[in-house]
Amino acid sequence: MIRINLDVMMAKRKMSLTELAEKVGITMANLSVLKTEKARAIRFSTLEAICKALDCQPGDILEYIPNGEK
């Protein structure tokens, strides 16, 4: 499975969900879907905007966990 470490990066950058949503340009609801790992897919444009806002790499946000371990 793919784990989303958005909350870890947000905590490192001391950024709130509202602030990140404003910077990325997506709704709070959509960002919440991504953060709670309910999203089925992510657009490259969204990933790029998140990386830009959090000043990080895609690998810092997305992490591959083998065999679906939680």
């Binding site: 959509n30 960002l31 879907v33 999203a39 089925r40 897919a41 992510i42 657009r43």
Partner: protein, 202 residues
């Protein structure tokens, strides 16, 4: 502007459908009352909805040829059995129509308020299709039992092969519409899956 017009059309359709729904419920209620009334005052051979038609002066044998057999034997000792099966037959038919109408109402309302591409709407469309395919078969069994087992109908142009042919034609008409509804249900299901996929893409 476009969305307002679309909404207005939906509201108009929904209102029109509600009027039709009300008329249907009215006819159904009146038929049930007439059924009960006719059961205790056997003045004529028809009951329920057919009684209503006969009161309006509509020729029933012309409308429903299969009733001719029932009419001819209705004076026999099986009077209450005939009434019971006629009631059963009409009850199944009305239930199927009522269920379909309730589901159609739900589909129109869903399209009006939210979107028709939802899993419950898809299931409703598919259920209408199943009802349309199955109801004529159940009615065929009930009518077959009434005519050939209970009444032992054996008259000219009213034999088993004629009955089976008529039943098949009836089933074919409803079956085609039912299969169409099932196909539409599958289209809606695919649409619903695509919408869900799109909603969960950030």
């Amino acid at each position: 502007m476009k969305s307002i017009n679309k909404r207005n059309i939906f509201i108009l359709t929904y209102s029109f459908f509600n009027i039709l729904f009300g008329i249907f419920i009215g006819i159904m209620g009146l038929s049930v009352v007439l059924f009960i009334y006719d059961l205790f005052s056997p003045r004529h051979l028809f009951s329920g909805f057919y009684s209503l038609l006969s009161k309006l002066g509509i020729s029933i044998p012309l409308l429903i040829p299969s009733r001719i057999g029932v009419t001819m034997f209705a004076t026999s000792a099986n009077y209450f059995e005939i009434r019971f099966f006629a009631f059963f037959y009409t009850f199944i038919f009305f239930s199927a129509v009522l269920y379909s109408l309730i589901k159609i109402k739900f589909i129109i309302k869903s399209a009006l308020v939210d979107t028709p591409f939802r899993s419950d709407v898809c299931k409703s469309v598919q259920k209408i299709g199943i009802i349309l395919v199955l109801t004529p078969l159940i009615l065929f069994l009930v009518e077959g039992f009434l005519l050939f087992v209970l009444l032992e109908v054996r008259i000219a142009n009213k034999d088993l092969s004629f009955f089976l042919f008529k039943a098949f034609i009836n089933w074919f008409y409803y079956g085609v519409v039912g299969v169409f509804f099932l196909a539409i249900g599958n289209v809606f299901e695919s649409g619903s899956q695509l919408k869900q996929e799109n909603d969960l893409t950030v």
